[in-house]
Amino acid sequence: MEKKREPKKIFIQGAIPVEKIANSIANHQHKTNIGAHDIFLGQVRADEIEGKTVSHIEYTAYEEMAEKVVHEIREKAFEKFDLTCAHIYHSLGKVKTGELCFFVFTSSAHRKMAFEATRFIVEEIKANAPIYGKEIFEDASSQWKKNTPVS
């Protein structure tokens, strides 16, 4: 924990490809001090609101601030939990229903740490990172998404 970690790029244009997740998992197989990974994936739902169905979400963000906020959340996670590593990615731009928009991946020697760290990071980012999702309906009308505290 003494090593100073630099803020990382977290934004990906469009949906998060499954290959990115697979590569990320594969890259951990040489770290033989890891016993447990916990991966959270956010997927865009085809919610129906007043008879209209969501077709995709357009994500925007205050990118520079979001990267700082996420960096601080990541540092806090390393302080609170005994982690080997933590990876965090979020989409920008258009993500269609069924596609992935949010990817949080933590690893630890022990499962309790990974479970708690992933959940902590997901909740903190939803609550504190300046990222915005606009739900676009099939008829091209739209509304701004609102996060609920733990849903």
Binding site: Y59, K126, Y132, G133, W144, K146, N147
Partner: protein, 79 residues
């Protein structure tokens, strides 16, 4: 006379119809005064929910300096 940058996001940017603009300020203008100036310029913001970030930190107090960044942030909806 110098300027600071004001940024608007999400639903707020749809009201201001711009993502970013330069604002002329007098030195040591408070964050709250900058916000008030913007609310006068865009009266519809007065009924909207938002937080203010000063140089990428959420705050509602403090003084600004030339070149600073003030952002209007509606409720977050990442994830």
């Amino acid at each position: 006379m110098s300027t600071l940058t004001v940024k608007y996001f999400g639903a707020i940017a749809e009201v201001t119809d711009t993502l970013q603009e330069e604002l002329d300020i007098i030195d040591d203008m408070s964050v709250q005064t900058v916000v008030d100036v913007c609310l006068q310029k865009y009266p519809r913001l007065q009924t909207m929910s938002f937080k203010v970030a000063h140089n990428q930190r959420i705050t509602d107090s403090g003084e600004t300096a030339p070149g600073d960044e003030i952002a209007f942030l509606p409720p977050f909806s990442g994830g």
